[in-house]
Amino acid sequence: MAEQDGTQAYRRIYTLNLGPQHPSTHGVLRILLDLDGEYIVKADPIIGYGHRGHEKMGENRQYKQFLPNASRLDYLSGMLFNHGFVLAVEKLVGIEVPERAKYIRVIASELNRISSHLLWFGTYVMDLGGFTPFLYAFDDREQILDILDSVSGSRLTYSYCRFGGVTRDIDSKFIDMTRAFLKRMETRWADYDDLVTKNIIFIHRTRDVGIIDAELARQYGVTGPNLRACGVAFDVRRIEPYEVYDRLDFEVPTGSKGDALDRYNVRFNEMQQSCRIIDQALDQLPGGDFLTKKVPQKLGPPKGEVYSAFESARGLSAFYLVSDGSPGPYRCHIRVPSFGNLNVLNEVLPGTLVADAISILGSIDVVIPEIDR
């Protein structure tokens, strides 16, 4: 069971295989932990159990046919990846998108961001042992899924965006549902605060746990809320705004220390900012087409490349498409944020307790199939 370490006679280091089947490894992550008692000496994340070859699929498909794949990369923010892929292709081919479609996309994406964060919130508290907030978060998330279902017809893998617009226009029912949701959430934040944010046990479980400072984050290419938690206000929506984000007023919440509590607070505030964005976008929503008519069935983009970044729920994501002029890409690379965010565990985990490892893993919010691609 415990192997004797040759060099140190009475310190026994043993290996614990955390995952791939483990309640808290979110998908199929395996971490080889070398433990000294309950303290972690070395951590080696092993990934790839969910590798489906999306990049190879992308090379063998037409641009249009890759649409359903895009929302299956990070299935929790399917709309965002769908949106991001469409952006990349539109940039490559040069398709003009109607104003209304841009707003619809932003609303749908932000709704998806909230739903992704809500799921993270629920599972994170569940990783820490609190089961009830998980179901409250799911109750709220259910409202978002209903809203997105009413317009895209799907609850998880939306395939809602199309080159030059979206598949279906939003109607007054959608707007009413969204407004009702925003109103509902206003009262929910206080409940979540009382139940989780202010809870002394929760604070002790997260404060000073798993500190990722700005330099470490830079070394590993950590982005998204995990980076903002260490005080760097880096948000693709702000730095290189796409769609109509430059017309909307929102803050980029940041933390200071980069511990689990900061990451929690950043995500929590981000949900509220997303609510603000949706509210403004609904106010500014113009009329007009939701899908441009001028897109040919078979796209023939010019030769060249495009690297289009967008902010998914987990950080900076990008599609890198290289076109050889044919209706499908020559190379389709996907930059996923969870890759760097998980990689940093190599350095953050050693020296912490097993219980902290679960807390850290939950707080950086990785979606493993996104990394595996």
Partner: protein
């Protein structure tokens, strides 16, 4: 002859044992159902609804399912210990029932060392958990067992210190004596700190959330009973609920007046109902706590025990001793 048989001490003991066995099993099944209902309604869902009215028979069906399942012995497990542990975890909780004062005349054995007996035997649970975790030959189970031992050592102390303050006031270790002296005012009003410390330690003692670190399903999969299947797991599960009943019943008799109504008002309700009512209220509170809080971390738990609970309970004991001496 017959009179001698029914009146004999042996008859009383056997009858008592049968009642205890029947009651503890039924009670545990009911508590499991109650827990699922409470959890369900707290989480805005109905809980079990299918078997029987409002799913009341669900746990019995689960029990039948567990009995029907194969007991899987892990490779290289310690066979004897592995099967002994679930039995070991259930034996001491039965002993606890012997001295619980359900009513003025409803005690199987009114021993004058009753309090001591309950706590002496409740430590057996730790032994069972350690045996089960060790025998499983599984790292998660072993970690759970280690945590359990450390946790119980840390929490026995404040638990007993809190009880000691009550014992000092009554000057007796007999449950019926303690309950009788609470006829006019419950000890929770005289000893609020001790009562609170007792409840917190008892939650930790029974490995309930937020102190369920030996199980800690999000960290250690299922802790010490990771490898148990079928009724082996079932016994651990039932023992947890029976244990919970016992600590709550002890809390009722030590701090909440046992079979007495509040402030001596009994409303004509028999004492046993008062006792059960108060015990179930306490059990509900423990469930309510479980479905509200996240789990504490192992070292924080120890910190809390050694840095907060033990000093507080010691101070409380000293103050009690001085006051008792002065009066």
């Amino acid at each position: 002859m017959s009179e001698g048989l029914f009146g004999s001490e042996w008859f009383r003991l056997i009858l008592g044992l049968l009642i205890v066995l029947g009651f503890s099993q039924l009670n545990a099944l009911f508590l499991v159902w109650l827990e699922r209902k409470v959890a369900g309604h707290i989480q805005l869902r109905p809980g079990p609804m299918e078997v029987g009215p409002h799913g009341i028979l669900q746990t019995i069906m689960d029990g039948i399912k567990l009995v029907g399942k194969e007991l899987i012995l892990p490779l290289k497990a310690d066979r004897k210990l592995f099967f002994l542990a679930p039995v070991l975890v259930f034996m001491p909780v039965l002993v606890g029932f012997l001295v619980l004062p359900f009513g003025p005349s409803m005690i199987i054995r009114d021993m004058n060392l009753g309090v001591l007996l309950v706590f002496a035997f409740s430590t057996f649970t730790v032994l069972a958990i350690l045996a089960g975790g060790w025998a499983s030959n599984n790292k998660y189970a072993l970690l759970g067992a280690i945590r359990s031992v450390a946790q119980n050592v840390a929490y026995e102390i404040p638990l007993l210190l809190a009880v000691m303050s009550v014992v000092l006031m009554v000057n007796s270790l007999s449950f019926s004596e303690i309950v009788r002296s609470q006829k006019s005012i419950w000890f929770i009003f005289l000893q609020p700190v001790a009562g609170l410390i007792y409840l917190i330690s008892a939650t930790a003692e029974t490995n309930r959330a937020p102190f369920d670190i030996p199980e800690a399903e999000s960290e250690l999969v299922a802790g010490f009973h990771t490898e148990y299947s079928g009724m082996g797991f079932g016994l651990f599960f039932l023992a947890e609920y029976t244990n919970m009943f016992i600590v709550c019943a002890v809390a009722t008799s030590l701090f909440f007046g046992g079979w007495n109504g509040p402030f001596g008002i009994s409303l004509g309700i028999p004492g046993v109902f008062w006792f059960l009512f108060k015990t179930y209220i306490l059990i509900f509170v423990i469930m309510w706590v479980r479905w509200t809080f996240p789990r504490v971390r192992f070292d924080q738990l120890m910190n809390f025990s050694w840095k907060v609970m033990i000093p507080l309970s010691l101070a409380n004991l000293v103050v009690t001793a001085i006051v008792v001496k002065l009066i």
